[in-house]
Symmetry: C2
Subunit: 368 residues, 2 copies
Amino acid sequence: MKITCEQASLAKGVNIVSKAVPVRSTMPILECILIDASTNRITMTGNDMELGIETVVEGTIEERGVVALDAKFFAELIRKIPNAPVTIETDETWHTTITCEKTVVRVPGKSGEDFAYIPVIPRNNPVVISQMGLRDLIRQTTFAAALNNNNKLMTGEYMEIVDSRLKAVTLDGNRIAIRNVVLGTEADDSACVVPVKALNEVGKILDGGADDLINIYFTENHVIFEFNDTTVVSRLIDGEYFKIDHMISSDFVTKMTCNKKALLDSIDRSTIMSREADKKPIVFRIEGQTLSMSIESIYGTMNEEMEVAKEGADMIIGFNPKYLIDALRVIDDEDITFYLLNTKSPAIIKDDEGNYTYVVLPINISVR
Amino acid sequence: MKITCEQASLAKGVNIVSKAVPVRSTMPILECILIDASTNRITMTGNDMELGIETVVEGTIEERGVVALDAKFFAELIRKIPNAPVTIETDETWHTTITCEKTVVRVPGKSGEDFAYIPVIPRNNPVVISQMGLRDLIRQTTFAAALNNNNKLMTGEYMEIVDSRLKAVTLDGNRIAIRNVVLGTEADDSACVVPVKALNEVGKILDGGADDLINIYFTENHVIFEFNDTTVVSRLIDGEYFKIDHMISSDFVTKMTCNKKALLDSIDRSTIMSREADKKPIVFRIEGQTLSMSIESIYGTMNEEMEVAKEGADMIIGFNPKYLIDALRVIDDEDITFYLLNTKSPAIIKDDEGNYTYVVLPINISVR
C-alpha cells in the first residue's frame, strides 16, 4: 500500500475513529486503526466489537492495500508532524514507512486480516435529524443513564419513533430523563435501546449545525449513524425497556415556577457542604411565594432563599443535589416548573410544550 | 470579628494564600486560612511552615478579630457565591456566619491561636527586580532542579548577587540551568539556596508586568518576596551549593547553530518513540552542515534531518530527549548554539550575551 494524504485529513480521521478503539484489549488487533486503500478510496476504521467507526480520508492512492497500525502511536505521530503531505507506505511484511517533510518513521504494521470490519447491514428508510438536534438530544439525556449496572438496559437509551416523533429516555433508578423531538421527515415507527456509550461518542464526533443532517438506521441488532464521510455502527441492547409511563404521575398538589439559573447556582453552591462520602440532601421549603433551601453536614449549614411563583400547597421535600443539578444544566429554558405531589413521590420538571420531562426521586428527610 | 469584603477581593486573596496551604497536614490548623482583622486592615495568611503567604484584602472592619477557616471549604465557597459584598461574622466560639445576598452559611471556625503567623524578619536593602523578570527567571530555571532528592540542595535554586547581577542556578545531576539578570538598582552581594517549590508558587502568584517591581530580601534563614499587597516568606535550604564553574568547560570541538523551533519540534516528535519505561536516546549526527537525528525503540525508528551552521569537527552524540526539550522550551531566542567537546562531555547551549547557559549530560550510545 502507498498513499499520500494531508496531515490535517489524517488528523481528522484519526480523531474520529479513535473513539471506537479500546485503550486495552485482549485482542491486540483491536488496538489498531485499520487503513484501507484496497478500493478507490481511503478509509480508516476503529472497532471495539461493540462500537465501530469508519470514516473516509481524502488522499491519493499510489498502490492499493491495507494496513493496521497501533492507534495510540499513530494518533500521537499524526498530531506531532507538520501540516504537510504525509506518505504512508507498507512493504510485503506490513512494515510501514511514514514520511512527512524531513521526518521518516518506520514502524511494524499488521496485515489487517484479523481486523473486524464494521458489519455490513442492510439499511432501510433512515430517520433523518439535524446534527445539532441529535447532539443536543444526547447531551440532554445520556447523563441520567447508569454508567455500570447489572441491568444492562439502564446503561442504554430507549429511542422510540411514533408518528415521526423521536422520544428518547434514560433512567438509572433514581431519575428519568425524557426528550421529544419532531423529525423533519417521515420515519417508520420503531423502538430500540442504544448503548449510551455509543451515543456519547457520536455526540463528540458530530460537528455539524442545524442544517447538517444525519441519517440513523435502526436494524434488529444494530443502529447505524451516517453523516459526512463517517459511519458509526453500534450493537443494540437486548431486552424490553422499562414501562415509564406509569412511573410519571400527572397528579400534583404543588406547582412551582422559578428562574432556572438562580436555582441552579443555589443548588450548586450547596454541594460545597456535601462531599461524595456523605450525600446530604438539600431540603426545599416552599412556603407562600418563597423557596428556602438548606443543607446541613459535618462542615456546617447553608441556607438560600429565592422568590418563586407557586400554585397549590406548601411543601417540604429533600433531594440529592447532584440529580437536580444534572437535570437543570441541560434545560435551556429561562424558567422551569416543578410538579410535586408529596415528600415521597418523584418530583417532575417539565415544560408545557412536551419537549422534556425530568423526574427525580426525593430523599427521605426527617422534617423538624 | 465582623468584616465585609467584595467577593472578588476575597477570591483574589484566597487564590494567593492557598498556594501555601498544605493539602494534608498532621496539624489541622495549617489546613486553614487565617483571616486577621485585629488591626485596622484585613489580611489572609496561609502557612505550611516552610512557605508562608500573607496578603491584604480590601474591605471594611465592623468588629475587630481573628478567625481560621478550613482553606479548601472556604476557597470553594468564595468561588461559588455571587460577585457581591460578603459579610463574615464570628461569635465568641468562632462559629462563623458568611452572608452573601440570600446565601447564608454557618461553619465552625478556629481561634487562630495555634496558627503559625509568618515570621517577622528584619529587612535590609531589598533586591529589586521586575515581576515579569522574576517570573521569566523562575520559568527558565526551576525545571532543572530535582523534585525529590536525598541531597536537599538539588531541590533548591542557587541565587547569587554579585555586582548587582543576579545569577540563578539549578541542577539535578543530569543537567544544569543558569540564568543571569542585571538588576535595575544596586544590591548588596549575597548568595543563598531558595526551595524551588517556593519559587514556583511565587511564579504563579506574580501577575505584574515589566514595570511592576518586586522586593526580595535575603536573610540568614529566610527569603522574603514583597509585591503588591502580598508577602511571601520561605525558609532557605542550608548548606554549601555545588561548585558549578568547573563543571562547565569552555573547550569545544564542535559549534552548531540552528533554528530553535525546528529543532524542538523534531525532538518533541521523537518522544513518541520512547515511553517513560524505556528511555531511548535521541542520536545527533552532525555531518557537514546537516544534523540528522534518530531514535530507535521497540515501536520502530524515526529519522529527522535539518540544516545547521556548524564550525569544527563532525560529531555523533546521544541525549535524553526530555532534557533537551525542557531547556529548548524556555529559551526565547530564534537561533541557539550548541558547544560540544566529545560524546561523553556535557553539551552546552549558551548565548553570546551570557544571559543563559544550559548544560545537558549526554547518554552513552554504541555508535554503529
